[in-house]
Amino acid sequence: MNKKIQKLIYKSFDTTLSAREKQQLDRATQESAEVQKQLHELEILRRTAAKQSASFQPNFTERVVKTIAATKAQVQDDFFAALSFMFRRIAIAGAVSVILMLSVTLFRDNSSTIISDYAQSQTTLDELIVPSVTTSLEELL
């Protein structure tokens, strides 16, 4: 069969043929039994293929939605687990740094206890003002 006619047969199913192409195909169809047969077979093929119907197993939709719900719950669980893990790490790091800072302070001041260190800073207002005033008066006299 002429290659051009063959091309026109397939083209006729998918796009609109120009007037000239349509005329060529019509003539070929009238003259050749093979062209007629091919057009007919392709038409049956297309019609039957379009009638193909298929379906998934029963409860397909329910399975899809159940999987999505399970995935969502899993993602949420993962998020909280990650959050708790992070919090634990931050808390431990915080506690360690507080202990370190405290130790460094104690060693630097050469103090044996926190209480004694704390007590040293307990100066009264009288101690701060009166001695200095007394000293200055004595010096004056």
């Binding site: 397939y10 119907s53 397909f60 329910e62 939605v65 719900a69």
Partner: protein, 187 residues
Amino acid sequence: MKNPDITSDQELLEAVKTGNLDAYTTFVRRYEKQIASTVISMLGDCPEAQDVGQETFIRFYKSLDNFRGDSSPATYLTRIAINLSLNEIKRRKRNQSRHAPLEQARQTAVKGKSEEHFDLKENIQRAIQSLDPKYRSVVVLRLVDGYSTKETAHILKLPMGTVLSRLARAQAKLRKILSPMLGENHE
């Protein structure tokens, strides 16, 4: 929400975005048959087709925030289904050598089944599955799913000319395989 059957896709998807899974149930029911037709035509009626169908809707759900509505949900779903089917075909090919006896047994079973219910529809289905994947996807979208040539080109991200030439070649192959049966079906 109003009657789910008359709710538009847009309304359903907006509801899904707010976390409404019932809306997604309605959406899946609406497109289940169409996706089944695409996937089963690509892979045959097998457990893998069920998995690919399920994965199609799960992927769509996960990418919902990126779905801008430029193309219809059906087109978007079909594109996912075709891509996942092509991946499954590739995976099968890779495993074919490893699981050759298993694959052979499966093919024998399918053959036996179709010989029992010998009809044109089933033979067309089998013939489509014997095509090379690049021809198969064009045939499934254009002939089975009924998309236009332009839509088929859009889904497969191919030029129109490529779709037309693949379609012509695929039909010629199908005709060659099915010719004796198509000849019997004169109406």
